[in-house]
Symmetry: C2
Subunit: 336 residues, 2 copies
């Protein structure tokens, strides 16, 4: 990020017709965006949304509230414009692209971008979730998807995911990488009972023990416990940061992919905004691990990129504030 | 509010393609809006913003960071489109109207709605801020402004204010009506020093003692300690609630006017959304007094309606979610 643009913007904001610092976090966002983009008058519109979808072998263990078939059903719902993320994408004028990186079933639809690595990961209680090659291909699928969207002109990347069972993979990842206990990293997902949650915790604890990932090697953890959509999110974040495009993270699963990216490159976190903190209790630990503060706290637990899309207007407001407000001098207002 | 529409919407939201309750506060907002508007498919666009501006005799006591002339300078800035609230109004497609209910100086501009009661309130350390007639006229100015904007077709009313010295009036009001101490109700306003804050506290404490308002008579408190813009906000809220139009409150001053409205009619609070909680410490007490939870927490301390305008996209997202999402049945998605 550009320290020069950060300093310049910090000073410039105090010349605008408002008491210094009176726009709070919005001022922090404007400053961070100047640093990220290396521009004095940054833009975040148009935004683009990537929703990576994949299935998870771990669902065999009965860890999820919904059956696996829901992943492809929701892919169809995304393509038809009926899901929550479609609604919020339309509201903010965002292009929405759904990328199949590993759904268990096939969806024949021209609007779907297929970068399928395999029909779901393997059950990581029994074996590594992915091979080395699969993990690398999934990261690359994310990188390529982000690069293509950025090439089409988006100025802000919003990331989301869909995959029945993916809070289990994310909890496993976060417990290993963020140094919290499995108990702290496990939540209710899309709505399991206390009993199933206890079972989910036990499955993850046993799986982490058996897979024994090297927590100083983030890609090893990703390969053994992750998911294709999580790996794709890691790749998309790396690609956006590389070309100075800000990224808004959604919930727990998205943030687990961001932890991997941040471990691969410590500068990545400067390019990230945490859209919100979700009801999933591990999310707070995951955000703290990266060093991010959430913009919204709405008690969401949906995924798809919804919390990130809902936070986008804050970034838009921050750049408009920077770019459109009058200065004390220009407006003839007495500064104190 | 319509209990029937509230019940119906509560059930309907669980038929949409998302786990029940997974959109958190957005679902609460959608339900509340159905109740307020008595409509199954409520709308909040287009929104309208009223910024009431007035001056305060209490500034003679040296309680503010900025000089009084800034009130009319900022009125001109609003009219020219250079203030923060102008920027956020454009972002959300809101009509913005500035109403002079008591600026100390004259602003000759056709775009300004003049409903001036007097050239500022009197110094409430020395005498009542307003006469009975002035207080009533200011409430009526707010009512008429809201009614006119609603007649032009707005579906959501966003309230803001401008007035050098008005955190002092609001702190006095809140300390009497919300039952917190003067110390709890006093903050740094637009950026005074600790020393000036101590002085501001002493002035308010002495003024409350001398004016001795009847805290069971909200209009008596308003007359003795309030401001013309605060009274206008009270009137605007009453007018909007009466015709089932939702209101988004901004910061501390706006909320002090909402306390008066809530005391006059206990049902008013069902029509209110708290856009945010500000840095001004009395704001939290004021919100709790009415029983409101803020939508955003961005560390703002600007006023003008900025925090309310920034929260508007949440209400827009909530109604779009209700009105545009597919049901499980329609999308062919398996419900658990």
């Amino acid at each position: 990020v550009s320290q020069e643009k950060i300093s310049k913007t910090t000073l410039y904001l105090d010349t605008l017709t408002k008491p210094p610092g009176s726009l709070g976090k919005l001022e922090d966002i404007a400053i961070q965006l100047a640093g990220i983009t290396n521009q004095e008058a940054p833009q975040v519109s148009p935004p683009g949304i990537l929703v990576f979808a994949a299935d998870h072998g771990i669902v065999e263990e009965g860890v999820s509230a919904f059956p696996q078939e829901v992943t492809v059903q929701m892919i169809r719902n995304f393509l038809d414009g009926g899901a929550a993320i479609n609604v919020f994408a339309r509201q903010i004028g965002a292009e929405l692209q759904v990328v199949d990186v590993g759904a268990a079933d096939e969806v024949e639809d021209k609007r779907l971008v297929s970068k399928k690595i395999a029909a779901g990961t393997r059950n990581f209680l029994k074996t590594d979730a992915m091979t080395e090659e699969q993990m690398e291909a999934a990261v690359l699928a994310g990188t390529e998807s982000a690069e293509a969207m950025i090439a089409r002109g988006i100025k802000c990347l919003i990331l989301g995911e869909m995959g029945i069972g993916n809070t289990t993979a994310a909890s496993a990842l976060v417990s290993v990488l963020a140094g919290c206990s499995v108990d702290q990293a496990v939540g209710y997902g899309t709505g399991i009972s206390n009993e199933v949650k206890q079972h989910k915790r036990n499955v993850i604890e046993e799986a982490v023990k058996r897979r024994n990932p090297d927590n100083s090697a983030p890609l090893d953890v990703l390969k053994k416990l992750g998911g294709y959509e999580i790996a794709a999110i890691t790749g998309a974040i790396l690609a956006a940061a590389k070309v100075k495009i800000p990224v808004i993270l959604d919930g727990f699963i998205c943030t687990s992919g961001a932890i991997v990216a941040s471990r691969l490159n410590e500068h990545v976190k400067d390019y990230l905004f945490a859209g919100h903190v979700s009801q999933e209790q591990g999310h707070q630990f995951a955000l703290e691990d990266i060093g991010l503060e959430p913009l919204l706290e709405l008690g969401l637990k949906l995924g798809e990129g919804t919390g990130a899309a809902l936070a986008f207007p804050m970034l838009e407001a921050a750049v408009r504030m920077r770019n459109e407000m009058a200065t004390f001098d220009k407006a003839g207002v007495t500064n104190k």
